[in-house]
């Protein structure tokens, strides 16, 4: 069997006496899509930051595209190469884009660093191509972020991640802040891009329905630990771990009634009750 596109083993992060991520293993195949599911404090965002190199793990190894990236890169060239392998799209398109740069300029900057380099005509062509891929027309590409809607800004953030031509994109709650009608557009877009480019995703999310829509594999995190892993459908249709079951039961759906029992504090007891 070939090596996974990205693999982390024994991943751990301490903040003083707080163990944010505790011995986590995960792997994504080329073209695959993995969800890291959890609530606040589960450690899911810390994992994303470690995978992309924004946070240094206390212990454990991370390999992507056959190379180790457990320690900080030692050169600009190394940093660039890592950037061309794994990109990240954050939750908030309002704060992750430079307010003074049009989409065009933001994309151009990435293309100068990765790929097309000094050939301005090639960069221009690639910007148009990226715009088309994420559904942004010329006018939107020339506009500043403040003149665009939240959904359009998130498309720019996705286009910017794609500009580096990465093998994998980490989507850190990337659709969580979007209106439902826009979220559906962006989820369809993400599925289309994966179909067309064979890119891989790691989706960090608390939203089980979103997770089901765009991932095949999932791990469920609770207090820094993986409590369940497997096929996304299987986890959602017949969750085995008590925490996953509670998470599943807390999602509003037709005919659902909220219950007091579903509190985070009561999780440890849940395992003992029948």
């Amino acid at each position: 069997m070939s090596e996974p596109l990205l693999e982390a083993t024994g991943l751990r992060k301490d903040y003083g006496s707080v163990l944010a991520v505790d011995d986590v293993d995960l792997a994504v195949e080329a073209g695959g899509s993995l969800a890291i599911v959890g609530e606040s404090g589960s450690g899911k965002t810390t994992i994303a930051r470690m995978l992309v190199g924004l946070t240094r793990p206390t212990a454990g190894t991370i390999r992507a595209c056959g190379r180790d990236r457990s320690t900080p890169s030692r050169s600009a060239a190394e940093r660039r190469r890592r950037g061309s392998e794994v990109q990240i799209v954050f939750q908030d398109p309002y704060s992750s884009l430079d307010p003074r740069h049009s989409a065009q300029k933001a994309l151009d900057e990435v293309l100068r660093l990765h790929g097309s380099g000094s050939d301005s005509r090639a960069r221009k062509a690639r910007i148009a191509e990226l715009g088309e891929l994420v559904g942004l027309d010329d006018r939107m590409l020339r506009a500043l972020p403040r003149d665009l809607s939240g959904g359009q800004r998130q498309r720019i953030a996705i286009a910017r991640a794609l500009a580096a031509d990465p093998r994998l994109i980490i989507l850190d709650e990337s659709v969580a802040a979007l209106d439902v009608s826009i979220q559906a557009q962006v989820l369809n877009l993400l599925a289309d891009i994966r179909e067309q480019t064979q890119i891989s995703y790691i989706l960090i999310s608390h939203d089980l329905a979103v997770v089901r829509q765009i991932t095949e594999e999932a791990i469920v995190m609770h207090r820094g630990k993986v409590v369940e892993r497997g096929r996304t459908e299987a986890i959602l249709d017949s969750p085995q771990d008590p925490y996953t079951r509670m998470l599943r039961a807390s999602v509003p759906r037709p005919g659902w009634k909220p219950t007091r029992r579903a509190s985070l504090a009561s999780v440890p007891d849940l395992g003992e009750t029948p």
């Binding site: 609530e39 809607s149 559906a184």
Partner: protein
Amino acid sequence: MSANGALLEVDGLHTKLPVEGRMQTVLHDVSLSIGTGEAVGLVGESGSGKSMTARAIARLLPSGASTSGSIRYDGTEVGSRRGSTLRDYRGEVAMIFQDPRAHINPVRSIGDFMTEALRTNRGVARADARARAVRALGDVGIEDGERRLKQYPHELSGGLLQRVMIASALLTEPRLVLADEPTTALDVTTQAEVMAILDELRRERGLALLFITHDLDLAGAVCDRTCVMYAGRIVESQRSADLGERPRHPYTAALSAARPAIEGAVHRLAAIRGRPVSAFEAPEGCAFAPRCEFAQDRCRERTPELRVVSGGEVRCVRADEIAGNLAKETESV
């Protein structure tokens, strides 16, 4: 109480706000009523006007806002209340916000925050006010109330702080609670618990509730009736159970179809083209027409009226002829 028994009656509410130096319409002909003890959901996306409706009712609109139309509470016009009658109104109508941290003074203790209204407006003695606060905390499932009163907001988690907000909103024994996305910032398990508490206390005390959310299923779970807003207008209102099963407005049906399902994913989501607009960005005619797959020329010509249909109201000229298609659309997802 007014003739038809409604505790709150909003009739033909229009609101304009200064947006980038110009007065722009954000609410357009909003009418709704809430009976004593009734829970009504107000569902919509960004710019739909759902929060502005709640703020208009609470008399908490931003400065510079101008409104016309009528908001009557218990038979009297809310806009005409001054001084002590306004204070009484604020005691009877409590508001719970999305982000508790933005609505609590971070340098004052939970105890000071919770007892302030009772002590200054009602003249309740300190010890009595604190005892009531501890009881109120107990009601929302916070057992060690004495200790919590001495704590500061930063020492509490978001879910705990939102329960404190609910407890203090209920301290003045309101008859109507306006809850503006009270669980949107919370984890899903915490949301379930906070909603359960709010729902239970509301039923026990016969409180009326206006519950604002972007989540149709969440509104359906706790509200008797649900109103759907788009571009500053109410486009549909029905009993929540019926709304889920038989949406009458194409927007409601499209909104429910666009949301990914937790049971069985579809290959492609039924996304709605374009983006949600505010009232002042809406085109002539039906505001949803540019995004609606059922739109015809006549939809773009005149703004449809909110019409009474069996079991509710709908603002769509084609509601009757497309009723069968809408049901099919939601079933297939």
